[in-house]
């Protein structure tokens, strides 16, 4: 970007108006980007401030001294953050596996198997997407309670698996796989299970990766359901733990601990984001068009 004036000198043909436009556009984008990144930067910066520095006036964008006390204190809280991290990892990974496999099976039935009432059933499935999760929140809480599942991993994992969007998404992708592939395999004597695992799944890898990332990050960030189900501090997920931590330190000098917690919660998300950029872009462009 700093090269612009140089370019201008070299190639006199560029009309000044276009150049002005170019600079203007870049300026807008850079200002926009800076203000987008600033809160995240502010979070990181605060997390490295000592207790005294946090309430310094005027606020300092970059801490004068880097202090790790917030990160050390984070693991000395009443809430066990290491355990919460572990819980979140267990829940999110198990959920993601389930949220890929179970909908993939259903999508297979809806796209590659023929049975009477298939389209009707699929429409019924789609209709459930209209139901906001708040409506099922209370009865689901009562059911989980009735089953004695409060504060268990299964209660955190299984109800969210009712995910029709995933079925819809995978069905769309499976429809683009030619039926002949399956037919040939059937003639060769392969059963449906074999076709599903050996032919369909390998061909769906990009779609599964996209969906996997979306579901993983979505579950990692989920708050309302875990907040209701995981009331035992040993079952807290990161989001619930962070919320509780925030409630305790909201108006005190220990706010830096909250920011350290937020950094800890967000790091895995950013790592996944960086690793799976390609799939995220793919996922977003396909979901946008399909609807």
């Amino acid at each position: 970007m700093e090269k612009e004036p140089l370019n201008y000198n070299r190639r006199k043909r560029v009309p000044p108006k276009a150049l002005l436009l170019k600079i203007g556009v870049y300026l807008l984008l850079i200002i926009g980007l800076l203000s987008t990144i600033l809160p995240l930067f502010w979070m990181i910066s605060t997390s490295f401030k000592s207790q005294e520095a946090i309430f310094e006036l005027p606020p300092r964008l970059i801490p004068k001294h880097i202090s790790f006390e917030n990160y050390i204190n984070l693991f000395k809280q009443e809430i066990d953050f290491a355990k919460a991290f572990q819980n979140t990892l267990i829940v999110t990974v198990s959920y993601t596996i389930g949220a890929l496999l179970i909908p993939a099976m259903a999508a297979y039935a809806f796209s590659k198997l023929h049975f009477p009432g298939r389209n009707l059933l699929f429409m019924l499935f789609l209709a459930t997407m209209m139901i906001p999760s708040q409506v099922t929140l209370i009865p689901n809480y009562l059911s989980i309670n009735f089953l004695g599942w409060l504060n268990t991993y299964r209660a955190l994992i299984i109800p969210p698996l009712a995910n029709v969007f995933n079925i819809f998404f995978l069905r769309q992708h499976m429809l683009s796989i030619p039926d002949e592939l399956c037919e040939v395999a059937r003639i060769d004597g392969a059963n449906e299970g074999l076709i599903f695992f050996r032919i369909i799944i390998p061909l769906l890898k990009p779609a599964l990766a996209t969906l996997g990332i979306l579901n993983f990050t979505g579950m990692w960030r989920d708050f309302l359901w875990p907040a209701i189900i995981a009331t035992d501090s040993s079952m807290y997920t990161l989001q619930v733990a962070l919320y509780t931590l925030f409630g305790q330190n909201q108006a005190s000098t220990t706010f830096g601990v909250v920011m350290a917690g937020a950094v800890l919660v967000l790091i895995p998300l950013f790592l996944i984001f960086l690793a799976g950029q390609k799939f995220i872009v793919h996922g977003i462009s396909t979901t946008g068009i399909k609807s």
Binding site: T128, L137, I138, Y141, Q239, F246, S285, G288
Partner: protein, 292 residues
């Protein structure tokens, strides 16, 4: 014949069970609960809950706080959705300009907040807009503006939340628009150019109409998301303060259900939320069909 059903059934069974248990059954169960006075007396012994017909719904319509929650939620949606649409379209148009290099870099940068939404980012935002110690008011002070107490001033609290949601979702929606933009055939622009259209006319008469499906999608999703606003006010304004100015329908459900344990009342309010979302969706789908 048996085999015809057996294989599909096996493939569908896990989904069927889960969806039945955690979506279909609860929808009806919720309807039933909403017709009872399930409250703290029924906490230990569910048998204490009595059927009371539509009383919960009648009370809700006269519950000033609930009506305020509806107004707040609508206020939020009405502010947030157009902002999101305009800003994300503008961003997408900028990013789509042919002269832009590093497009991917910018796109990912703007996308960062979206990936990080949740409680974590609400706590961050709380700190960003803090009155005396926040970075936002500090930056405003460079321009001689004395920033308000964003979260403690009734006039600004909801705006602060709108700000958070727009900031967070901008990159995501801009990406959707970018995908839409890239599907617009180049010939259409060339044709418009031949007709003598300038840059703005091309955007107005070619780009925007052709992006209509994306616009419809974004407005539906952001509106539905807006109706479900919960985590942000829960964190930023301690559950809807100051003076209930940011209390939303979902916060109302949460408080009544899980703090006061008035499950019947909470279930009834969740049905009213459902009705809102349902109507909005139908309306927008109808609108979409008519025009395109």
């Amino acid at each position: 014949m048996r085999k015809k059903y057996l294989t599909p059934l096996l493939f569908l069974l896990p989904s069927l069970i889960i969806i039945f248990c955690f979506v279909v059954f609860p929808v009806f169960f919720s309807l039933y609960i909403s017709l009872t006075d399930f409250n703290v007396r029924s906490l230990v012994n569910w048998g204490n809950a009595k059927l009371i017909g539509l009383a919960n719904y009648r009370h809700l319509l006269h519950d000033e706080l609930f009506l305020k929650c509806i107004v707040n939620t609508l206020y939020f949606v009405v502010l947030m959705v157009p902002l999101v649409l305009v800003l994300s379209l503008a961003l997408a148009l900028l990013l789509n300009l042919p002269l832009i290099k590093l497009r991917n870099f910018f796109r990912m940068g703007f996308f960062m907040p979206y990936i990080s939404d949740g409680i974590a980012i609400s706590t961050v935002w709380y700190w960003v807009v803090s009155k005396d110690y926040g970075i936002l008011n500090h930056i405003l002070s460079w321009f001689g503006i004395k920033g308000p107490g964003w979260l403690t001033d009734v006039r600004f609290a909801m705006l602060a939340i709108v700000g958070l949601v727009v900031w967070r979702s901008l990159g995501y929606y801009a990406m959707l628009y970018l995908a839409g933009l890239q599907n617009i055939p180049q010939q259409l622009y060339e044709a418009a150019e031949i007709d003598g259209a300038n840059r703005w006319q091309k955007i107005w008469y070619v780009t925007i109409p052709l992006l209509a499906p994306t616009t419809l999608f974004i407005s539906i999703t952001s509106m539905i998301g807006g109706f479900q606003l919960f985590t942000e006010p829960l964190t930023l304004t301690n559950g809807g303060g100051p003076m209930d100015a940011t209390k939303t329908i979902v916060l109302f459900i949460y408080e009544n259900g899980f703090r006061y344990f008035k499950m019947g009342y909470a279930a009834a309010s969740s049905y009213i939320l459902f009705a809102f979302i349902f109507i909005v969706t139908l309306f927008q789908i109808k609108l979409g069909e008519q025009k395109y």
